[in-house]
Symmetry: C2
Subunit: 454 residues, 2 copies
């Protein structure tokens, strides 16, 4: 039997080293949406793998490169880690209490852009592997890392990458880029992700902003065209008005509803954390809210921009306007099908002047909650956290899990350092140091048990 007590001790004894290494990683900006620091960060990650004896390739794609690393183990079974080295834009900068790319320890947390999403998870896995190897002398199976650089911009080139390298990536289990605990510290298991279709809608009515006194009643106004076009996408009852949008939606199964019903209610925590007066449509917490949260597709305006946005008043009539919009998709919706329907809808509604620029998409994807690898991961979590894990059949976020599910036919689980207060995608992103320790113990057990499963 693997000596997990010795492994746990190693993890705790080497925590300072882990935090130092993670801080170096977070200090390196890698904002994929803005093309900032990508090459530097991919090289830094490659270096972190090489230092541990991994065979590493930085593999070019049509976008940002993928860092691929592989190390041999005692068997030919393989465990695949999927991560990403890119991060969300740090704006608005003025809302950070410490600079986003200056990792700062405060109140038992490390603050930095990307510390939770996803650099803390990269570090967690490397530190777990270090501990296993230090105590047992080897890895129990082959270890593979796919660390991409476009997750925060919809992983545009990952599907081609995984398909092209399917033989190399073949694995018996895959640990997804995120994981961790819920708002009460219970380890969580996420077995499905919604899909996404992300677009920018833009309107250009002229070549020059006009004075609103001149053009107000006779010039087309790009901001008005955008508002009217957006208004046709969703009504005030949250019903998406694009014809055919709901056609492919599969309702949750009885097993899904059983798992949802077993989930703890975190609705009060959500209301408090986001300063909300209530949920949409007056929904209370409980299974109804959770079903709506993950099994209902969405249309979210992520950003609006047009004309004058400074202080005070400026009497401009804008010639350009644009909106960022994402649709979260549920099985079996497909992003390109939704894109087609969106375009047809705008055309039919008289908005042929609204340009739809596709910024990326993912299909939804799920793993069977009864797969043996899922059981291994849940058993490991019970041991590491000493709390019963919470199993989500599906969560609201998106990612390229469908790519791995389809090309590699691999079960996908989650494990790591995240928690609901991480402020991923927001100012003051952070990771709790204690979560890092437990997440690393959990991950080390997943690695160690790959031997036992032989």
């Amino acid at each position: 039997m693997t000596d997990f007590a010795a492994i746990d001790k190693y993890i705790v004894d080497h925590l300072d080293d882990s935090m130092a290494e993670l801080s170096r990683l977070c200090a390196q900006p890698s904002v994929s949406a803005q093309g900032l620091g990508i090459r530097e960060c991919s090289e830094l990650v490659a270096e972190m793998l090489k230092r541990r004896g991994f065979a590493v390739e930085i593999i070019a794609t049509n976008g940002h490169p993928v860092v691929y690393g592989e190390a041999a183990g005692d068997s030919d079974r393989a465990l695949l880690f999927y991560n990403h080295y890119d991060v969300q834009p740090p704006e608005p900068l003025e809302l950070w209490d410490s600079p986003p790319f200056q990792p700062t320890l405060r109140d038992g947390k490390l603050f930095a852009r990307g510390v939770s999403d996803d650099k803390g998870h990269i570090q967690c896995r490397l530190s777990a592997l270090d501990a296993v190897k230090a105590v047992t002398g080897s890895y129990p199976c082959r270890i593979k890392f796919v660390i991409e650089g476009e997750e925060e911009t919809s992983s545009l080139n990952l599907e081609a990458f995984v398909k092209d390298h399917a033989a190399k990536l073949k694995a018996d289990g895959c640990v997804w880029e995120f994981g961790g605990v819920d708002h009460e510290g219970r380890p969580t298991q996420y077995l499905g992700l919604r899909g996404i279709c992300y677009v920018e809608l833009s309107v250009k009515t002229g070549t020059l902003d006009a004075h609103s006194g001149l053009g107000g009643s006779i010039f087309p106004n790009a901001a008005w065209r955008l508002v009217w076009a957006l208004n046709t996408l969703k009504d005030g009852n949250e019903r998406i008005r694009i014809p055919g949008f709901y056609d492919a939606v599969k309702p949750p199964s009885a097993r899904d509803l059983e798992l949802l019903a077993a989930l703890p209610d975190n609705s009060d925590d959500l209301l408090k954390r986001y300063g909300l007066k209530g949920f949409l449509k007056g929904m209370p917490g409980g299974p109804e809210l959770r079903r709506e949260e993950v099994f209902v597709p969405t249309c979210t305006i992520c950003g609006l921009t047009s004309g004058y946005q400074g202080p005070g008043s400026k009497t401009a009539l804008p010639a350009q306007a644009s909106a960022k919009v994402d649709f979260r998709l549920v099985p079996d919706q497909e992003p390109l099908d939704i894109l087609r329907k969106l375009r047809a809808h705008l055309e039919a509604e008289g908005f042929s002047d609204v340009e739809v620029n596709y910024l990326g998409g993912e299909a939804p994807g799920r793993t069977d909650p009864d797969h043996p690898f899922v059981k291994l991961v849940l058993d490991s979590a019970r041991e590491a956290y000493r709390v019963e894990p919470v199993v989500h059949p599906m969560i609201g976020g998106s990612g390229p899990n469908h790519v791995f599910l389809q090309a590699l036919n691999v079960p996908i689980v989650t494990a790591g350092v995240g928690y609901p207060g991480s402020q991923a995608h927001a100012p003051n992103e952070n990771m709790v140091i204690d979560h890092f320790v437990t997440g690393t113990k959990h991950t080390a057990r997943i690695v160690g048990r790959m031997k036992e499963e032989e």
Copy 2:
């Protein structure tokens, strides 16, 4: 008889001095919306008047100060000039060919923020007065200047100022802050201004932006609330949907329609300059367009802002969103009445979460086209420009003319250096040097004829 030939020669001979003085004035930023350079510019303008022997006061208001200057003349009749020393924000800076506060001479034009709106007009009037005094030895009547610092932010404190100083400001004629030629070089006379009601609509649904994967189907979204609220304000046929909005609208008179019918058609020029494919509602040029342009009230979105607006995609769910909106008003609409109706409408439509912040307003105002002072100004224009002037009973822009009309009962005319290519309120604002010369000759004749009219 006043020797206007000598005055014209003086104006031409001293053109370089005038341009140097104007460049100094334009180099001084004075962005009222951003509170930038206001004190410095008011002092510079005061200095320009003092140098010419005016008794000058910088008079505090609840906002930016008014520069008031007065000089005695040969009679007790009085001519009042209304100007403003503040300018529009220069953004977007990247669209300027030369820096907005570095006046640059190019192709016979002077480029700078404010060179046309309104600093060129201030300079034009001072240079005209210099010429009259140099040739005749005195001013033919009292000269009064009201130069305010909040015209670009709706002149919030001017009404109180004019009412408080009505006795001091009393005059037989008033020359408005703008004037000049149309797109074919014909001198124009503007005898009325639409009103304005400028508001910011803002929505705050929470205290923190969320991840769109988490909140998309269960959290309120500030951007959606804003879009839906805006959509209720105006329909796709440009009909404003606020109950009672059109109640006070007076249709144009027969005399108005006669003046409109006599106006030249500048519609092709507008289409070309603003890069438009056509006018709203498929309107052709001609009297129909001109009537719509000035005698129809508007609702213009001047700006939209929410969530992520940078390059690429960010899956944010915004907790805040806001829009700048202006309503152009026609006689006898009143801004505070419109504001009240807007608030009641949003409330009735279920948008009590949309905050309406009033950023300023003006009532509409008009001058009788048959007043003797209007005739004097038109006769002067015929002489200076050697072209028949074009008389607009009303224009689409706004300003505080109603304040002077009501408090001083003074006829208001326009004269100056403007033209349709001035790009006032847009990047690359400019003034044609030749227009400055002719506008100054025209202004000098208006001053000179105040004597003849005794």
